[in-house]
């Protein structure tokens, strides 16, 4: 019997496992870098919109309305983040950092939306959705997220801002306290600045909560995706 062959085979097998680990890690890093690049790009777009908003002062609402809608990019970012979260875990420092940046971008986009709504007298349809990854709302939060994703697909003009309630971010905590969100009964929904709605939902109950959906074009109609 040749023991060297046994040891060599073990070494090669271990090396293949290490290589698989390395490739997976490398791709995770690439994914993080791609997410960061997207976040940076969105950040610049939001800054540009804010600057444009301030520059125009006496606002030309038509110009603003022609701007690209950022919520699409934010939504694709959310999908990328959920893959990173699944691969690296909720508590991975990189993932947490990206989620914080993502939440900040959402809040900035939301504030910009509020400002434009006020000045241009538009009627956007938006939902602030607060969830938690802790055990208390696993299934209910997942179901509400799925309903919102489905509605986003049906009504591209619907703006959804989702926030991890437990994220340690002062701007988010301020938003939570402004809307008096109770963390014990998540999921929570703020629909068009109305008082929070808590608990599980069905598609039908959600549609009843957002009657403004009727004013939005569906994905099967002619695409006018401006949310403003």
């Amino acid at each position: 019997m040749n023991w060297q062959r046994y040891i060599l085979a073990f070494g090669i097998t271990a090396a293949i496992f290490v290589t698989a680990f390395y490739i997976a890690s490398k791709l995770d890093n690439e994914r993080i870098a791609a997410i960061r690049a997207t976040e940076d790009s969105i950040s610049i777009d939001i800054l540009s919109s804010e600057t444009q908003f301030e520059l125009l002062g006496n606002l030309d609402c038509n110009t603003i309305a022609q701007n690209p809608v950022l919520s699409d990019e934010l939504n694709s970012l959310a999908s990328q983040l959920s893959v990173a979260e699944a691969n690296l875990g909720d508590n991975n420092p990189e993932v947490v950092q990206l989620k914080k940046q993502y939440s900040l971008l959402e809040i900035k986009d939301y504030i910009l939306l509020q400002n434009i709504t006020e000045k241009c007298k538009t009627k956007p349809v938006y939902v602030l959705y607060f969830y938690t990854n802790s055990g208390s709302c696993n299934t209910n939060c997942g179901n509400v997220a799925d309903i919102l994703t489905y509605l986003r697909g049906e009504y591209p003009g619907l703006r959804v801002y989702s926030f991890d309630y437990d994220l340690d971010l002062s701007a988010l905590k301020t938003l939570i306290s402004l809307h008096n969100i109770n963390g014990a009964t998540l999921p929570a929904l703020i629909i068009n600045n109305r008082p929070p709605v808590y608990g599980p939902q069905t598609l039908q109950s959600m549609q009843a909560l957002i009657p403004e959906l009727a004013t939005l074009a569906t994905s099967t109609q002619a695409t006018s995706t401006s949310g403003y």
Binding site: R5, Y6, L8, T13, I16, A20, A24, Q80, D146, L203
Partner: protein, 410 residues
């Protein structure tokens, strides 16, 4: 990482280790090409054809033996009809009357091993072979076997390279791929002196094997496996003649295949119980240290991985159904993204790719050794079907062993 996934990683590591081990063995000693050289001496040979209700294939099988490129006065074909109820007896008697090389015997049904032992008792040939009545030999197969015996005088038994006879359906094509990488595996086991079975189709023994270790046993309906175990126990060498091709018909329905493989797998488990002292016993070389433990691990790993996959798939489907029920969202296609960023590229994905690559390499090398061709359809059949069917016979075999219930021939 959950404990279930950890178990899958252990299975994958074992599978990869085994593949790497065999590939190292291949690089150390590559199979030689066929040569036109002839044997120095032509020993007398008897090929036993045990049969039970083989009226459809017996004549073809015997004709393929009569067509062997071997001196006719040193080759005899011994048909042993094990109490057939169909026309096997009439066909056998007719062939014996027509060909001087053919002898025919009829006996009460007692199982394949009794037919084999009957045949051994009826011949004085130096080499005794067996050919199942559903298999056919290439004309030069016996020459290749005899040359292999001459090349190493210590060899006591030889297995051929088995191919599937005219595979047509998806199930047959799946088995043809399996037999092709089986050719590679057998050759590597030969390199390691660790062949674990002397299959019914055209395994050839020196007469001394039976005088040294005794005749075939019932051995849980896998006498061809048990005799290989017993030969290892006695230190008798088994080799593989990779240029001696034998064509065998394979089960054509899933249920027939499951029954056949349940018998093989259960036979392996029960023979393993009988020869458990060989496991991790250095005295039995690579057979005891590598082939037996990894065969058992492959058995258990196959069941574990199948159950884990079933559990994960079931959980996913259940959660989706529960979600549909709770949310009342109508069935719809999920949003698809084209970028790789959305693909879940975890470590297991790459390890699975490595294991499948090892399997693909074994198929390619087996194809090269067997000088056979495998089409896309056959590869598709193998990779699409095997993972679904194999766990069924593994679980049946495990259940049968636990209940100590003998598997059935047919």
């Amino acid at each position: 990482m959950d404990i279930g996934a950890f178990g899958v990683y252990i299975c994958l590591f074992s599978a990869l280790y085994f593949e790497v081990f065999l590939l190292i063995s291949y690089l150390e000693k590559k199979p030689s090409d066929k040569t036109a050289a002839l044997p120095v001496r032509y020993p007398t040979v008897a090929v036993l054809v045990p049969c039970f209700n083989e009226e459809k294939t017996l004549e073809h099988t015997v004709n393929s033996l009569l067509a062997l490129e071997y001196p006719k006065d040193t080759l005899e074909v011994v048909i042993i009809d094990d109490g057939s109820k169909d026309a096997t007896r009439a066909i056998g008697e007719r062939m014996a009357a027509k060909h001087r090389q053919v002898r025919f015997f009829h006996k009460e049904n007692g199982g394949k091993y009794t037919a084999m032992n009957f045949g051994i008792g009826a011949t004085q040939a130096e080499l005794i072979g067996c050919l199942d009545a559903d298999s056919f030999v290439a004309p030069d197969a016996l020459l290749e076997v005899v040359k292999r015996f001459e090349a190493d005088k210590s060899t006591m038994a030889i297995t051929p390279a088995m191919k599937v006879y005219r595979p047509r359906t998806l199930l047959e094509l799946m088995q043809s791929v399996e037999y092709t990488f089986g050719i590679f595996y057998k050759k590597m086991f030969d390199n390691l002196a660790a062949l674990n079975v002397l299959p019914g189709p055209f395994s050839i023994y020196k007469r001394e094997v039976f005088t040294t270790i005794g005749l075939f046993k019932h051995a849980h309906n896998t006498e061809d496996m048990e005799i290989a175990f017993r030969m290892h126990a006695y230190g008798l060498k088994i080799a593989n003649a990779h240029n001696a091709f034998v064509y065998t018909t394979v089960p054509t329905t899933p249920w027939a295949l499951i029954k056949q493989r349940t018998r093989w797998s259960q036979g392996f488990l029960q023979n393993s119980q009988d020869y458990s002292y060989m496991y991790f016993n250095r005295r039995f070389g690579n057979f005891g240290m590598l082939v037996l433990p990894f065969a058992l691990l492959a058995f258990l790993g196959g069941i574990y991985t199948a159950l884990y996959t079933l559990y994960r798939t079931g959980s996913y489907v259940w959660s989706k159904l529960s979600e549909m029920f709770a949310t009342r969202i109508p069935p719809h296609l999920p949003t698809t993204h084209l970028s790789w960023v959305y693909i879940n590229t975890n470590m297991m994905l790459f390890v699975i790719i490595a294991v499948l690559s090892g399997t693909a390499l074994a198929i390619i090398l087996g194809k090269r050794i067997a000088k056979t061709s495998i089409g896309i359809k056959a590869l598709f059949a193998y990779f699409a079907l095997f993972g679904f069917i194999a766990p069924v016979w593994l679980m049946r075999a495990a259940w049968g062993t636990v209940r100590s219930q003998e598997s059935r021939w047919r």
